[in-house]
Symmetry: C2
Subunit: 146 residues, 2 copies
DNA sequence: TATTGTTATACTCTATAACTATA
DNA sequence: TATAGTTATAGAGTATAACAATA
């Protein structure tokens, strides 16, 4: 059972699963930081690149929602990515207030390598039996509605 | 199947589970931010309070590892928590270089309410069947080695 | 020599408010 | 009136390097 719960009674299965999930993510935090550092990117810059999918222009507002921060912060984050030639701002056709972000060729390359490293499952999952891995995937598919 | 994989071939079960897990955490990010904002705490401050368990003094170095940042950053983060009366620095008995962090009574109260909100499982997990929730918990127990 | 925690520095992130140009 | 993005500002986080105290 999970240690140090707020209450003294044992947590529900969902609660314990959620806490263990958070613990697993925490353990992998160092690996993500290492990947970011290798490309000299800050964490918000990493999430920004991950948010932008090749060939899919995205409005800056969407990035602010993804990063859970104010619109104004996105300006600086994108400024720096643009200065490094990783993304470009393009005017949106349907609404002249909106600017779309697109990955440059260099940006796509960096993103691909970044995703390759970050999306690799942690050792804790790799070591599970094939059955557990498939059960886990199926449960998450149901949880996420895919 | 998970969209937008780096390669064209379908990912392993562990990889897909890992990516969906990340997506689920991302969806809950806003909820954690809201809890932090309610107590006027930054995210590093939240992780710091969560790291400190009641009655368990922890060296500052351990907090740096938990936050995955340099030792020098912890000084400022703890300074601000201490200024708000949430934590206190105490000298460690066994090594005079080390300072231990302890939660104040107020700090314990804030931490407890913070954990109560953050540890509540997301809707996506709550809506799973009882069997799925238990399966999920058991798989995570095996993954985390508990 | 190595480690813990601090200070100093420069850069980045963050929320807020005020602004523009659109809608 | 409302929205997308920018600018300005102040506070906080971050890595790095240098330092004092201790091991």
């Amino acid at each position: 059972m999970v240690r140090s719960m707020a209450s003294t009674q044992s947590p529900s299965a969902a609660t314990e699963a959620w806490i263990l999930m958070g613990r697993l993510m925490q353990c992998e935090k160092r690996r993500v930081h290492a990947a970011a550092a290798e490309f000299e990117l800050s964490m918000p810059q990493v999430w920004a690149l991950r948010h932008l999918e090749p060939g899919e222009p995205a409005p800056m507002r969407g990035l602010a929602e993804r990063l859970v921060c104010d619109n104004s912060n996105v300006t600086g984050i994108v400024d720096r990515l643009e200065a490094r030639g990783l993304v470009a701002r393009t005017p949106a056709a349907h609404d002249r207030r909106v600017k779309h972000l697109v990955l440059t060729e260099k940006g796509e390359q960096v993103r691909q390598e970044l995703c390759r490293r970050i999306d690799a499952p942690p050792e804790a999952l790799e070591q599970l039996s094939a059955e557990d891995q498939e059960r886990l995937r199926d449960i998450f598919r149901r949880a996420c509605g895919c």
